[in-house]
């Protein structure tokens, strides 16, 4: 569906002849049908018609209302208010003028003797007359029987957003948005109503004017970083968006069948409106602050610690550290890396048209320089949306949006954020001669993070084109044939150039370059037939349709090494003999049939049913097709006579719905072979365990809710409860390793089979409360509050899925009876204080034999709890030590208008989730995780100091500095101090003042006759403060896909989000 506008598209004074496609606001369909009935009554009434002129104004600010529809009740006589709110209409005394306009309550005025009428319209806070977008169509808001939420352009523009998915954060109940990286341009994670798949993409389906996009899940692999962090939405200018309709209820999403399981976000971009051409320009400048630093040891503390390592036999003595007190503070790497930078965004829009054609054009330039050098995001986009009414019965439209983005990713690809925490303070950023500083040798040493951020060159350029065209044909009244074709094309260029370098003793002799040229295509074509009719009090809408989609991609990669010079960075500068080239292609297709019926009786009882059948190329002929039915019912109880007397209630609708949708994202039907170079040419090995019976993941959801509008629509309360049952989970089940597979890449591995095993449920509550607290001519105060609760539980799985982060002790367990991805580990009970403490405790060393010595368990080692009481500490003593899922999330927005000032305060929060602070874990246990040359957190300066390291003195060994939880320096960690314990799991609860903005609308009269018609200036602070106990950079850490499953709740030292100060001017011409 292309046209999703709510505004009348006729210009003042021009009568519309085909009301069905005028897309009038409010109860359009009703009026249309009524007009037919009225027309049939003939013209027999007596009083003569005369010209009535009038003006439509807002009762709030007394400003004229442009484009309001004025209709003589019971006739087809219609007028539309002009640019100054004025209208003229033929009516007779005693006629009733029905005046309607989007966003206002419909007003009725009886024509008396006066020829002049002032019609005051009050704001309709309930938007009950709105027409909202649904899957493959649109519907009167009052006719909806499924849960869905609308986010408007006005909401989006209140925060500074790089991408549109970020703009959703805190705006809608049931929608959990988190940012897995602060890397400029990085995609957000959007979860609608909780996680619905373990292995597949959990991002919702975005339908942007018909272009269907499911952005890829943010993936991370610390050893093999993804080449980019932006997702498929990054090429869209958030300012082009008119509305986002978030389909959450199962009856609403089921029409998208196999793509709908994660919820659907219907995005309508702005279209032109008939009338004078409008030109608007906006400029925005933001200063991004430095992050707060993670406290690490300074040089004195580091030197003392290093001497401790030497004493424990873990390293050779460093003569420079002989007297730590003589040293300065050393290098503050985080301070050296981060800097304040600018984000800027400039846009223009031109829109307008006449009664036949409308247009909307926009352009945007966006540039965000990262706070760490070597990171940034730039975007240039334009959009053209055209609509034309060719004949009374034919309407066509076209939209197109080319975009260009550049993502600079040195920082993330080289792990520079983490390196800036771990590099030790004895190394200078730069030497006195201006060259980059570095360690004295290469082995086990980290590089210079600041230098790498400058000398590497990693970027991703993307050229995208999104667009489509539609035709609407209305061969007879009520019957519409609609067909549209859409496409989304992108061409990407990943580029990596890592020059050879020498930073003092650290030598990287190899220059490496890599280029990946990648294209991606998607198209769909669908046709549908819709019939609307009303027979008496029965209104019926029926639709059937067919859709075909296909997509694919191809890539060509090349790499070379050993460049003679770093100044030629293309492949031709590298050594031919190191050249590696590769190419890949893949494609997919789906075909679908769908239909739905909506029945409304007397605007009170609503019944809805739909069915979709999807065939997917991801599955074999045996299991190719899936069917997804849905049904819902609603009762507008407020329309009943017994409710009419309850004055405060404007509208109350009770809803109940059921629907099925699915997820087809899996591959694994085919038994692929991997190509392996061998001495005898290319060889081939199995790549995966295939599964010929692979089929759909299914979600079946029941939902009940209500929409209540009270007190002149100044209070709007919507609440929904749901329970979603996901079954046939597409899981890549890790089996015992003796089956030969592996969960992540390892040389020659076979990936585990993808199977339809497992089920889980999500249940939750989503509440939205919108109120207008104060509304008078001077001050208005509105609040929007939404809160979401979601609980998840796995109910069936062959084997627990135990995901290990990067071969460490950090593990996440998905098992029956618990929510997905629980954090597991040991319970640390403190440090061993003396010999008795060790001898009376369960044996912690491998082999189960007590070994009290520095090469076994010693004073100052961590004491882990023997949960099963078997006298040994091993994997069976692991338990759940954290739940990464929030108990609830909320968004709370307050907007105030005082005279010409607008103040907006937006608060978001997430409560009750746990985070594995991996960055802390990695930098807390002496030697074990990060090695001899790494710096550690400041707290490590209090590492345990046993009184002796001599085994023969074991009985008398004590801890000389009790009271801390940092274990002793133990080379090779014989006691297993690196077991993950609850010490490294922290509460991720936070409440954040996400944005506060103050805007001033300049009075138009000050511009006089100049070309400026309107001017608005705003200042805004984003991420002003965050209430949290979390000790990492940022408690908002998001979710990553790692090793084929969705991993939540691990903070690996992600690129931090920072405070942003913005100044913004919007001018209309």
């Amino acid at each position: 569906m292309r046209k999703k506008r709510n505004h009348p598209d006729t210009i003042p004074g021009v009568r519309s002849s085909n009301p069905i496609w005028r897309l009038l606001p409010g109860v359009l369909l009703g009026l249309l049908l009524m007009s037919g009935w009225i027309t049939s009554q003939g013209q027999s009434t007596a009083p003569p018609k005369r010209n009535i002129s009038g003006k439509v104004i807002s009762t709030t600010d007394h400003q004229p209302i442009v484009g309001a529809t004025v209709m003589v009740k019971g006739t087809s006589t219609v007028a539309v208010s002009d640019g100054s709110g004025g209208f003229t209409i033929k009516a007779a005394a005693g006629d009733v003028l029905v005046i309607s306009s989007i966003g206002h309550l419909t007003t009725r005025i009886k024509v008396g003797s006066s020829d002049n009428i002032i019609a005051g319209m009050s704001e309709d806070y309930g938007h009950l007359n709105d027409v909202v977008v649904i899957g493959y169509g649109q519907m009167k808001k009052t006719d909806l029987s499924s849960a869905q939420t609308t986010v408007t352009a006005a909401d989006i523009q209140k925060t500074v957003n790089t991408t549109l998915d970020e703009a959703l954060q805190g705006r809608a109940a049931g929608v959990y948005v988190s940012q897995p990286s602060g890397q400029p341009g990085a995609g957000a994670n959007v979860l609608i109503r909780g996680i619905s798949s373990l292995t597949q993409n959990t991002q919702p389906l975005y339908v942007i004017d018909g272009v269907q996009i499911t952005p890829t899940q943010f993936a991370d692999d610390p050893n093999n970083h993804p080449t980019g962090f932006a997702n498929a939405l990054s090429g869209i200018n958030p300012d082009d968006i008119e509305t986002m309709n978030i389909l959450e209820g199962p009856a609403a999403t089921a029409i998208y069948g196999s793509s709908g399981a994660n919820g659907v976000i219907m995005i309508t971009t702005k279209h032109g409106k008939a009338g004078e051409t409008r030109f608007s320009a906006s400029t925005l400048w933001t200063v991004q602050d430095k992050p707060k630093e993670i406290p690490v040891m300074n040089l004195q503390q580091y030197a003392t610690f290093n001497n401790g390592i030497v004493a424990a036999g873990g390293a050779a003595a460093n003569p420079l550290f002989a007297d730590p007190s003589a040293l300065g503070p050393g290098t503050d790497w985080q301070n050296a890396l981060y800097r304040r930078t600018i984000l800027q965004k400039h846009t223009f829009t031109v829109s307008g048209g006449n009664d036949r054609s409308t247009f909307y054009m926009s352009g945007e330039y966006f540039n965000q320089t990262g706070i760490a050098p070597g990171s940034g995001f730039t975007r240039a986009t334009t959009r053209i949306n055209l609509d034309n009414k060719v004949r009374k019965w034919v309407r066509i439209g076209l939209s197109m949006s080319p975009s260009y983005t550049v993502e600079k990713v040195n920082t993330t690809n080289a792990g520079i954020v983490q390196m800036a925490i771990q590099q030790n303070p004895s190394i200078p950023v730069k030497n006195p001669d201006g060259s980059w500083g570095g360690p004295t040798s290469s082995q086990y040493q980290a590089s210079n993070p600041v230098a790498l951020s400058y000398i590497n060159s990693d970027y991703n350029k993307s050229l995208g084109l999104m667009g489509g065209a539609y035709v609407d044909i209305t061969p007879m009244k009520g019957l519409v044939f609609h067909t549209e074709a859409n496409t989304n094309l992108s061409y990407l260029n990943n580029y990596i150039f890592h020059p050879s370098y020498q930073f003092d003793g650290l030598i990287n002799p190899t220059t490496y370059s890599y280029v990946n040229e990648y294209y991606n295509y998607w198209w769909n074509w669908h046709a549908r037939l819709q019939y609307d009719t009303k027979i008496g009090l029965h209104a019926i809408t029926a639709m059937i349709g067919h859709e075909a989609q296909s997509g694919g991609n191809g890539s060509l990669q090349g790499s070379r090494q050993n460049y003679v010079t770093n100044s030629i960075q293309d492949l031709n500068g590298g050594d031919q003999s190191t050249s590696i080239a590769n190419s890949n292609r893949s494609d997919w297709a789906t075909e679908s049939y769908f239909g739905r019926v909506n029945y409304v009786y007397n605007d009170r009882y609503i019944l809805f049913a739909s069915l979709r059948g999807d065939g997917s190329s991801n599955f074999g002929p045996l299991k190719r097709w899936g069917y997804f039915p849905a049904a819902s019912a609603a009762w507008r109880i407020s329309q009943e006579n017994f409710m009419k007397n309850i004055k405060p209630i404007n509208d109350l609708k009770l809803r109940v719905e059921y629907g099925a949708s699915g997820n087809s994202g899996a591959s694994g039907y085919y038994a692929n072979l991997q190509t392996v170079p061998t001495a005898w040419g290319s060889g081939f090995l199995s790549q995966n365990f295939s599964n010929p019976y692979l089929h759909w993941e299914t979600d079946k959801t029941i939902n009940a809710g209500f929409d209540l509008h009270m007190y002149n629509n100044r209070v709007e309360l919507t609440a929904d409860v749901y329970k979603k049952f996901t079954s046939n989970l597409l899981t890549t089940n890790p089996y015992a390793y003796y089956n030969g597979g592996d969960i992540a890449y390892s040389a020659g591995y076979i990936s585990w089979p993808t199977t339809n095993v497992g089920s889980m449920w999500n249940k939750g509550l989503a509440v939205t409360l919108n109120t207008v607290n104060i509304d008078n001519r001077i001050l208005t105060w509105k609040t929007n509050f939404n809160i979401s609760f979601d609980r998840n539980k796995v109910t069936q799985l062959i084997t627990p899925i135990n995901t290990t982060w990067n071969s460490t002790q950090v593990e996440f367990l998905t098992e029956v009876g618990h929510p997905v991805g629980m954090i597991t580990g040991y319970i640390a009970q403190g440090l061993f204080q003396n010999y008795n403490d060790i001898a009376t405790h369960a044996v912690q060393t491998a082999g189960g034999v007590l070994n009290v010595s520095p090469q076994g368990t010693w004073v100052g080692d961590v004491k882990f709890k023997d949960l099963n009481g078997d006298g040994q500490i091993n994997a069976s003593d692991r338990t759940i030590i954290g739940n990464p899922w929030p108990k609830f999330t909320f968004g709370f927005n307050n907007s105030f208008s005082y005279k010409r000032f607008d103040l907006n305060i937006f608060i978001i929060g997430s409560v009750g989730n746990d985070i594995v602070n991996y960055m802390k874990y990695d930098n807390t246990i002496p030697l074990d995780n990060s090695g001899v040359y790494s710096n550690y957190l400041k707290a490590v300066a209090n590492y345990a100091r046993p009184s002796t390291l001599d085994t023969s003195d074991a009985k008398t060994a004590v801890l000389t500095n009790p009271g801390y939880n940092i274990p002793r320096i133990a080379p090779a960690d014989p006691n297993g101090n690196n077991r993950l314990s609850q010490w490294n799991v922290e509460s991720g609860t936070y409440v954040r003042l996400k944005n506060i903005s103050l805007a001033y609308n300049f009075p138009t009269k000050i511009f006089g006759q100049s070309f400026i018609r309107g001017l608005r200036a705003a200042v805004n602070v984003q991420n002003l403060f965050t209430l949290t106990k979390y000790s990492g950079y940022d408690p908002e850490i998001g979710m990553v896909n790692y090793g084929g499953v969705n991993m939540v709740g691990i903070d690996t030292g992600r690129y931090p989000n920072v405070r942003m100060y913005t100044f913004n001017v919007v001018a209309d011409f």
Binding site: S442, V676, T678, G748
Partner: protein
């Protein structure tokens, strides 16, 4: 309206619209059709599947645990206290062997099940034999490192977490079945240089029979039929394979003489590494970890400053200065000059100041030293798994059999052939410990050290434990050359004197913790394997 509706629904796509087999990938269903395809289907079993063994387990399980390596990274293996939670070495090594098993099994199923194949029976058998050989060898490492382990012969039908462990006897029987199948289905000549042939497998059979002869036996009463089999196969390889010992021990381990383009003349089976690392795993990472300085490799690796010969190995060479050829080819002593390493820059001289004996074997120098082949963590040299000298020593021991010693002329002939090449004097009577010691020195750092101790433990546990307890496994030592002393050079050697004994409890490695969680059946008693379940190929 109905007409319009039928038009909409009639817009269906053709059936092929939803058939989208992978474009860029082969699938098992459309491969293994010709001789060349069958051979391409088994070729990767010579490299990528063995990477994780070669990268980690090879040194940790075989050499460090066997007492020949000093390594700051592998201390738990030297000290017999490897942790079940060790993810980098233990788990990776464990997975490596079962990956080899799985890839061999799946390839066998694919070759045997290919429909419409035009490949000849002899080539199909060749491919199947290669799979049997690789699987049998992987089980040799599994049974040697973990004892009773589950036997997996069909990764499709057996896929589960409840496969029981099979007894050590069953696993040995399975290994020998695999090797015998391979030996009877392979021709005498390799299909391509570096691929196994009948003699490769017979050499391996000789080794396996010799080991099994001691299983659960006592000294002097090893299973005679197994000893006879070892003798039979060793003799066939020695007499009929055409392989003779090259005369120059040192040159044999130069990269240019031992790589997948130019296989070592003495090799019966070597892992065939590529001079590149894409995809990760076709490369040999040994030199990257072991070369003591980056100047040697010139590829940005060479992290072996804390990797060297063990105090025990050094002591042997200090006590046997006559064994200098093998010494210099195995570990670097301070003051040694290696002109062929980084030859373009004048070779490498081992510093005296560090007091350490670095690793030489398989350290081959820069790409420039190796016909411009190789790269970062991808030294172009093969890992030799079995070579003729070992078969000679197996032969000598099999002839000796259950006797305490032998002066058999044939046994002495082959035993002394190995010594003669090394420039050490012949012996006129040899006992088990002589052969054991000879094998240890001849094949030092080639990954067999621990497995030879284990096979000794099979029939003489007290002696094997005493042998290890007496080894100097010092964590630190200092070895310095007294400058200007030559022929023989004089060295000063002091070690910290640690000894680490093993016993029945830490004889085998623990199963990795994460594997125990996944498959609790590994904690159950082992059961005999039902050999009737095996397929007929």
């Amino acid at each position: 309206m109905l007409i319009a509706a039928s038009i909409v629904l009639g817009l269906g796509c053709s059936k092929s619209f939803l058939n989208r087999p992978p474009i860029s990938n082969l699938t098992s269903g459309n491969f293994y059709q010709t001789d060349a395809e069958v051979m391409a289907g088994t070729a990767p079993l010579y490299n990528i599947t063995w990477f994780d063994y070669n990268d980690k387990a090879f040194l940790a399980f075989g050499v460090a645990k066997g007492g020949s390596l000093n390594s700051n990274d592998r201390t738990p293996y030297i000290e017999f206290d490897a942790s079940a939670t060790d993810q980098t070495t233990l788990l990776t090594g464990y997975k490596a062997f079962y990956k080899i098993v799985a890839q061999s099994n799946l390839t066998m199923l694919n070759i045997a099940g290919a429909t419409g194949s035009t490949a000849s029976d002899s080539i199909k058998n060749y491919g199947l034999a290669e799979c049997h050989f690789m699987r049998g060898l992987a089980y040799y490492f599994l049974v040697s490192n973990w004892g009773a382990v589950p036997i997996v012969y069909n990764n499709i039908t057996q896929l589960s977490d409840s496969i029981p462990r099979n007894t050590i006897e069953s696993v040995w029987q399975f290994i020998l079945l695999d090797m015998r199948w391979a030996s009877t289905h392979l021709p005498a000549a390799s299909y391509q240089p570096g691929r196994i042939n009948k003699y490769s497998v017979e050499g391996m059979l000789a080794k396996m029979y010799l080991i099994r002869s001691g299983l659960d036996k006592t000294e002097g009463s090893r299973t005679q039929s197994d000893l006879d089999s070892a003798k039979y196969y060793a003799a066939d390889v020695i007499q009929n394979s055409g392989i003779i010992l090259p005369s120059d021990y040192y040159a044999m381990f130069k990269g240019v003489n031992n790589n997948s383009s130019n296989n070592n003349a003495e090799s019966l089976f070597s892992l065939q590494w590529m001079p590149e690392s894409s995809p990760w795993g076709v490369n040999n990472s040994f030199q990257a970890y072991m070369a003591f300085e980056p100047q040697i490799t010139q590829t940005g690796d060479g992290w072996g400053a804390a990797q060297g010969g063990s105090a025990d190995l050094i002591s042997y060479y200090l006590n046997h200065p006559e064994d200098s050829i093998r010494r210099k080819a195995t570990i670097m002593f301070p003051g040694d000059v290696y002109p062929e390493l980084n030859a373009a820059n004048g070779g490498i001289t081992v510093p005296n100041s560090t007091g350490y004996a670095y690793i030489k074997k398989y350290v081959i120098g820069s790409p420039a030293d190796n016909n411009n082949k190789g790269g970062f963590m991808a030294a172009f040299t093969n890992t030799i798994v079995l070579r003729m000298a070992e078969v000679y020593l197996i032969y000598a021991e099999a002839i000796m059999g259950n006797s305490a010693s032998t002066s058999d002329a044939t046994a002495l002939q082959y035993f002394n052939a190995v010594r003669a090449r090394a420039g050490v004097p012949s012996m006129s009577s040899i006992a088990f410990t002589d052969i054991f010691q000879e094998k240890r020195v001849e094949g030092a750092l080639e990954g067999n050290e621990w497995y030879d101790i284990l096979r000794w433990y099979y029939f003489a546990p007290a002696k094997a434990m005493a042998y290890v307890a007496a080894q100097d496994r010092s964590i630190s030592y200092t070895l310095t050359w007294t400058p200007n002393t030559y022929a023989p050079r004089q060295y000063t050697f002091t070690s910290s004197g640690e000894h680490f004994a093993f016993n029945a409890n830490n004889l085998y490695l623990p199963f990795p913790e994460s594997e125990m969680v996944m498959a609790p059946s590994l904690a159950e008693p082992a059961v005999p394997f039902d050999f009737s379940k095996l397929p007929n190929f």
